[in-house]
């Protein structure tokens, strides 16, 4: 950051760095979310027709024929190698894309040159130190001081629920479970499962492929249908989709396939909850079971809270689940609150 005069107060930023979406919430009232895609123009011809060299979010996805497309955070951490469904696999490219994405989202919060900018970034607990370093380096270019914290912790902090709460954060790449008990959650308080929204998409797709003969559909069509109709309830709104068969639009009822796919994530989540409960002070285990918060984009699956409750009753004897609304900004808002509450001297020391 250039050493311009910073005399107009502090701008606080909360950032939720997600597999599918990156969101920012700022103390100046700005809120932005962008899907976690970065695209670089393939060549100068493409750049000319796109009008710029780097595209972000849905823009990048829409122009995927003209750009090298990265989804740098698939599985919640910066990908360092293996090929991913939507993104390129190379490590350097992913690191660069992550850095550009962070810079972009900060720019969208419109910081002014004369403001000190302090940011808290919610990142998955299991990100490697290498990964965290990359995230911090990317952010440092655009802010004066930055800290990382775990994503589910940020959600709980934002809602002022610091005591005996279990947070289920259903993202795209992962489901993060976190036990809050008034102090900073440690390794043993957190559990990451790979049963997030992407897993549901894949399971749904498998079922569609097995049952819809001759229909063709893209990953995006599958995901859109899921986001429109996802439910685990016995009686759900019929999921009616339009997929082409031999080029001819054809209507299918995919209610059962979707419900089945959505239900797959319930047992592993409850099993995970069971583990976090079992290793907790026995005196407070019941209280913990009765204070479960459901967050993240995937929490919008209809009836999921009631279904998790029912499964908890079967597997753990009891359970009460409350869905938090604002899945897009739950993490970012919490991170913003942490940034705002953090004493100034701490920020100073991390500059």
């Amino acid at each position: 950051m250039t050493k311009s005069k910073k005399n107009h107060g502090v701008l606080y930023l909360g950032i939720d760095l997600g597999t599918s979406r990156t969101s920012i919430s700022a103390s100046n009232g700005e809120r932005e979310t962008v899907s976690s895609f970065v695209g670089y123009a393939k060549d100068s011809v493409a750049e000319k027709s796109l009008g710029k060299s780097t595209l972000f979010g849905d823009d990048a996805l829409a122009k995927r024929m003209s750009v090298d497309l990265y989804r740098p955070l698939s599985k919640g951490v910066i990908q360092e190698g293996e090929d991913t469904v939507h993104g390129n696999g190379d490590k350097e490219g992913n690191l660069r894309a992550a850095a550009d994405l962070i810079k972009e989202i900060i720019a969208r919060a419109k910081p002014r040159a004369d403001e000190l900018v302090y940011a808290v970034i919610g990142a998955p607990a299991e990100a490697s130190i290498h990964n965290k370093e990359a995230i911090l380096n990317a952010a440092r270019g655009s802010v004066d001081s930055v800290m990382l914290c775990s994503e589910p912790f940020a959600v709980a902090y934002g809602l002022d629920m610091l005591d005996d709460v279990l947070v289920i954060d259903i993202g795209a790449g992962t489901v993060d479970l976190c036990r809050m008990h008034g102090t900073m959650p440690e390794e043993s308080d957190q559990l990451t499962l790979t049963y997030g929204g992407d897993f549901v998409d894949a399971a749904f797709r498998e079922r569609l492929e097995a049952t819809l003969e001759g229909a063709s559909f893209s990953p995006k069509m599958v995901k859109d249908a899921k986001e429109r109709y996802a439910s685990v309830a016995d009686s759900m709104e019929p999921a009616i989709v339009n997929f082409p068969v031999n080029g001819k639009p054809t209507t299918f009822d995919v209610t059962d396939q979707l419900r089945e796919a959505c239900r797959l994530i319930i047992p592993p989540i409850v099993e995970g909850l069971g583990k976090l409960v079992a290793s907790f002070d026995p005196e407070f285990q019941d209280r913990l079971k009765d204070r479960v918060l459901l967050a993240g984009g995937g929490s919008q699956i209809k009836g999921l809270d009631t279904a998790i409750e029912a499964c908890m009753h079967d597997m753990l004897g009891r359970g009460t689940v409350q869905r938090i609304e604002e899945p897009m900004y739950g993490g970012a808002n919490g991170a913003l609150k942490i940034a705002h509450d953090m004493p100034a001297e701490y920020w100073e020391q991390l500059k």
């Binding site: 809120r31 370093e133 800290m147 629920m161 102090t183 900073m184 009765d290």
Partner: protein
């Protein structure tokens, strides 16, 4: 209703988030305030236990009548305040109607007698143009008050921005100021004073709100004659509601311009950055833990860098 496992403050947080989401994404949301008619009287006659039993039966009814998983609610004095997301206005009306008739079917045993109850429900819906959480709660409350003073066993929905304007046709004689108008002028004057006075705005405003509500209530008391009178009073409620919100907005702007952080802090409320004093000690510990973890990480990264630098230097 999560059977009291999340406390009212926590539920309140969730509701604010719900409202926020509804505003941002344009999804419909209804607030219901549900009161049992003559609950105080039932309490006096049959005791606290009956009162509790009645309230929990209402809870159950509410859960059964909504997609329970979507419902957020907490006791608000002797009433229950509930938020029902993703519900269109007309469905919210139907839901309220269903609750009213459902309550009629409830029976309780007390002192060997069978008791029946009725409820008064106030309904506020985002489609009616409500722009703040507090206002929406207030509208639900006002509507419940209105349903109750109209005799109970009914629901009422306040529609602030669709209240018809009363317009005088040109040339029509200007009516002499009535008693009511005089009272209004008094209230308006006090409001003005509250706004221009030094400090204590919030307290003054609070007091005035109380007065206005009392005023509204007494005007409803003698309103049992005829529907047109009801309609007029409803309009007055809508107008007063509007006036209150404008007053609140003005108070806020006065207060913030005197605040130590001036314009920079304008959005702190909106973003939930109140400097609330709850759990201060605990939060401080948590923040220190986050800071320590970040400091450790910074050191590890720096050590890594310097060791790889020296390695690099050695190898060259």
């Amino acid at each position: 209703m999560s059977q009291g496992l999340f406390n009212p403050r926590e539920i309140h947080h969730l509701m604010v988030a719900e409202f926020d989401r509804s505003v941002r994404f344009g999804t419909p949301l209804a607030f219901l305030q549900i009161g049992v008619d003559r609950l105080g009287y039932l309490h006096d006659l049959y005791g606290e236990e009956s009162r509790q039993e009645i309230l929990s039966a209402i809870n159950d009814l509410l859960r059964a009548s909504t997609r329970a998983s979507d419902l957020l609610g907490y006791p608000d004095g002797d009433r229950i305040l509930a938020a029902v997301p993703h519900i269109e206005g007309e469905h919210a009306d139907l839901l309220a109607e269903r609750l009213v008739s459902g309550a009629r079917g409830l029976t309780f045993e007390a002192d060997g007698r069978t008791l029946r109850i009725t409820v008064s429900i106030g309904l506020a819906h985002t489609a009616d143009g409500t722009t703040s959480f507090d206002k929406m709660v207030q509208h639900a409350r006002d509507a419940a008050d209105l349903a109750s003073v109209k005799g109970g066993d009914r629901f009422h929905r306040v529609r602030p921005d669709v209240a018809p304007k009363v317009e005088l046709s040109p040339g029509a004689p200007v009516p002499a100021p009535s008693d009511t108008q005089f009272q209004d002028a008094l209230l308006a004057e006090s409001l003005k004073q509250a706004l221009s006075g030094e400090g204590g705005h919030a307290l003054l405003a609070q007091e005035l709100l109380g007065k206005i509500m009392a005023e509204v209530e007494t005007r409803f008391e003698d309103s049992s004659s005829g529907d047109s009178r009801h309609e007029m009073l409803e309009r007055r409620v809508a107008k007063l509601g509007d006036m209150l919100s404008r007053t609140e907005a003005q108070l806020r702007s006065v207060l913030s311009s005197q605040g130590p952080e001036g314009v920079a802090s304008v959005y702190q409320d909106v973003q939930g950055l109140d400097s609330s004093e709850s759990n201060v000690g605990q939060k401080k510990d948590l923040l220190t833990a986050i800071f320590d973890a970040n400091l450790r990480m910074k050191k590890i990264i720096e050590e890594d860098k310097s060791s790889s630098n020296t390695q690099g230097n050695q190898s060259t």
